[in-house]
Chain length 344, copies 4
């Protein structure tokens, strides 16, 4: 009789909450993502292989997605964010398109390419951070003489989960150049000075490129008297000149300097994080899993996973580039953090 009752609900589009309760209201988040490290040394040869065997006309973008073993369908690197390794060869171009997903590139190897963003060619060199915020036209052109590889980052896992993804291809392969090179970067680069005649044009930073040269100077300018964070080291946030906030509403980017012998404190927060190793060697322990890393490796710290960073070198700095969905957690009132010991 009661079973009939349950059966009847089905036809009415209803279901008994009391039979789902525990699944819908976990005591704390259990990320489907797992701690994982992607090896630059192992993946680079495959990138080169595909660059020889697959043309950019077949592949709109020639990218190896870094797929978290816990997030294979749809593929993602952490719950809300994606990372991929993109390679482009001298003479190649990549089709102009735009999407509501916010994206950026962080350059790992090579020089001579540029990304054109809403008509502005933006040069690319190792360590440079290039923004392609939501719905900005972008295409790539490589005029250098060696392959270029960069980290591609997008928030499509979150944008798709929120069912807010739009995509459009440009009617030609490349968009016309309507601004001179790097203008969006040069206008905002130095001395915390902001052009007084420019108004914000959207919810994202107007800086098209944060050059490594400036990032390196920022790290060098902070002497040993700067305590920094015992968890994240000398952690500097890339900011939007108009707001002082994150570069895009869904992604925050940071550069971290871990001093020689840095042995960080453990912590966890609801934000999901992806890290790329700029320089040095070390390990990050995440929920008991030890992720050994060296130059250009990428690794994932799932949300609410406890982690701590270790710089393996007693004489050299380690430098990490990280990005996360912390801005989302904060603007939705869902950010939470606490100290903890990841073990191992």
């Amino acid at each position: 009789m009661t079973d009939d009752a349950y059966a009847a609900l089905d036809g009415l589009g209803a279901a008994p909450l009391w039979r789902f309760y525990g699944n819908l209201f976990p005591a704390q988040p259990r990320s489907r993502a797992v701690p994982y490290r992607w090896s630059w040394r192992d993946l680079r040869p495959h990138l080169l292989h595909f660059s020889e065997t697959l043309s950019l006309h077949e592949a709109e973008r020639r990218v190896l997605m870094l797929v978290n073993p816990g997030l294979t369908d749809p593929p993602a690197t952490v719950n809300t964010l994606y990372a991929g390794l993109q390679i482009i060869l001298p003479g190649e171009t990549a089709q102009a398109h735009r999407h509501t997903s916010n994206a950026f590139r962080f350059v790992l190897e090579g020089e001579g390419a540029h990304t054109t963003v809403n008509g502005e060619p933006v040069r690319m060199a190792p360590g440079d951070l290039l923004l392609t915020p939501g719905w900005h036209w972008h295409d790539h052109t490589h005029q250098g003489d060696a392959p270029m590889i960069w980290l591609d980052a997008l928030d499509y896992p979150m944008v798709n989960a929120l069912e807010a993804g739009f995509y459009e291809q440009y009617h030609q392969r490349l968009q016309p150049l309507t601004r001179t090179a790097d203008l969006g970067s040069r206008l905002f680069l130095h001395g915390r000075l902001t052009p007084a005649w420019i108004e914000p044009a959207g919810p994202n930073s107007p800086v098209t490129r944060y050059p490594w040269a400036e990032t390196a100077r920022a790290l060098d300018a902070i002497a040993d008297d700067a305590t920094g964070s015992e968890v994240d080291g000398i952690a500097l946030e890339y900011t939007d000149p108009f707001t002082g906030g994150p570069v895009m509403p869904t992604i925050g980017c940071r550069i971290h300097r871990l001093r020689p012998g840095f042995d960080g404190a453990g912590r966890r927060h609801t934000a999901s994080t992806i890290v790329n190793v700029v320089r040095g060697e070390g390990a990050t322990i995440v929920d008991g899993v030890r992720l050994e890393w060296s130059e250009h490796d990428t690794f994932a710290i799932p949300g609410w996973a406890t982690y701590r960073h270790v710089n393996a070198s007693a004489s050299q700095d380690a430098v990490l580039f990280s990005y996360s969905d912390e801005p989302v957690m904060r603007s939705l009132g869902l950010y939470r953090t606490e100290p903890g010991d990841p073990g191992a």
Copy 2:
């Protein structure tokens, strides 16, 4: 040989973006949710049935979830939000707990119950909107003499998708009463006056209860000279007195008055919406599907679905209560809207 290459990627946690492209970057959102209407007339008897056959000690909450046919696992009403019909009998109490999901109740039938929110008993009467923002302790007690039914709303589908869900049960069945009844409502209720000695305590409205009596007066106060929206009628947003913004960072609530014969214009936006019918009869056409509705029915308008409202009566107002994730879409820069014709 190339196949080997693809095989090898697998073991390295990588995958070729070019084989996933279309799925990850749709031209526009296709919500998994479908337009759907839940019938109050059909579901009410089942609620009463379970109220007789299932105790609140077996069921922490006695709620029929309104499950969208497109969103059965995990169950949700629209992509980011949930609606359920909760029933409580005279003399019953519902266990105190808290969760990071933001929630509210919108009362449909009965009187005499109260929800205790962080120590404050909040009375419940038809048409009242009661907030239980994230991580606020809440339990229910019914001292009236007839069953009470209300609409339960939560953002758990989004909070869980963002892996930010926490839940805790109170160590006793009911929390102690530490504030007098309805204080959080009385302090902010009239004349847009705000207590000068109270500071905001979180990212949500401090109003514990928006009484129907005031909502009705607001609708009555707006004469026919107020144009309102040709899409949503006289649509009024429930606001946070401290910010003027939505009542909670993830959910916006509105009351709509559709004048006699109202035949709305068509529109779509990226926000997902759930509507409950307070009064009147009519239909809402959503992507070609005609949803006929009458008092206390609930219906779903998926994100980016084109819709328009029709009041079937030439002499009576129709009044709709709606809630959506528009605040999320706006704070993340993902809100988009355009006119359109839902057909049918």
Copy 3:
């Protein structure tokens, strides 16, 4: 020889700071304004006298300025703000004009007049607060059958001190009525509900009139369980529905209920305050000066003067309406407050 040096400076537009130091950098503010009370009983007959002897065509506005004895040239009531008593007779109209100074009226006596603000006629009754924000056209028309008197408030002392005052007379005596009566009030009046189709049109509240009826309900709704402020009693701020902030960027308005026998704590702050007595009898001690007040009296609390309120009645509430430049002090980072004893 040194004297020659000083003399020479003069011709070069220079002066020695060291000869001015103390005057320019006082240890703490010494307001030029003094504590003062203006007697309704004494001033009302003069208002009536001028209403008989002076036409509104001679006097663009028939207003008695409440001039602080410390602020006679230019005349002001406190350092940044002004109060005046305006009278208008049945059948009279007052010339339409606008100024960048923010203004409001708080009605003391009579009914049947309305102020037209940017095309909207706004009715006036005792206890109503009407806004005429900067650069809004406004004129007055009295169609009642008895004289009307209200408190006129402006920030011209501050606007003129900042050299930002503009003024324009309308090309006709009265502006055309382009909106129906009280629309700007009715749209925002009840239940903290805000029309979703209306965008903010400026830095001020869109509410044209905060009716006394709602203010009274707000005071009544707050039971004795509401502690309120030990300094200012049950102090409620009139707010801008779009921001939750003050009604205008330069003036904050509050209503205060002092319970029977209220004997307030002493405090001072950098904001300058003007108070009008809505109901009751009592005294406010300001820097040792005891200001006895009763219905419709007005009094001044200079910035950084220590004050405390006393309700003389053991059985009746006293109700005060106050306005101050606290929003200015806060937005410029100049707000400071501390407890203190005004003595006497």
Copy 4:
């Protein structure tokens, strides 16, 4: 009889508005300040003279105030702001104190001195901008080997007009050094990167020093493709890293590059502006008055005065440093601007 009436008002603290109307509500602002230029060539010898004849123990600060001929009592440079030329000799120190007035220094000549701000020694070199925000302890020490001269800027005219000025002397001549040199500058200097472990500590920029080296790089980085403002040239605003807004709530600072032959468009706004010439020669026409300027001269542009800049050189850039109360005008809703022709 009417005269008696007026007489009687006096004793009651009242006055007839209709006899003051025009003075209180001018059609548009008429600044008491006049366009004026202070000659570096003429004033520098006097500075040197007083540095020899007046000790820093007699003069708490050895500063020549630049007094606008229209603003002699109290002395000010424009309506709301002040500029002075301060000189300090090798081996001298200037008494530690603090005031609620916001201040900054802009260095004109010499090296080797530092200002200590809340325990941090901040080095000073030509073109450097040093902030001493309200209520920050500050003192000066000169360990170099030649006199140093800088522009002293304060908002005391406005703070005093608002009766919000507090002042305190430190109990010793110099405050202890509790932070290493220039930390507040080094932490925020490069690449728009902001330390993630630091929270805003007040309504002002945390940058203690904006070094000229970075300002020069900012100007150089902007190629001729940057249009800039036809009124103010390549005008860059010094910003608060935490907000993107002005460096202090009452003062906005800018650097301007006028290209060779720049012949600006005319404009006026309600903000009052003070300009110091960093480099080059030219003229600024203000309400028909032609102010010829060359290196280190200072000039005043009163509020609502129409002005335009001219670079007299056809081959060299001119560089101007300006500061104004525009942030005040904007936060109070009093900012207004329009094009115009200053004549001459």
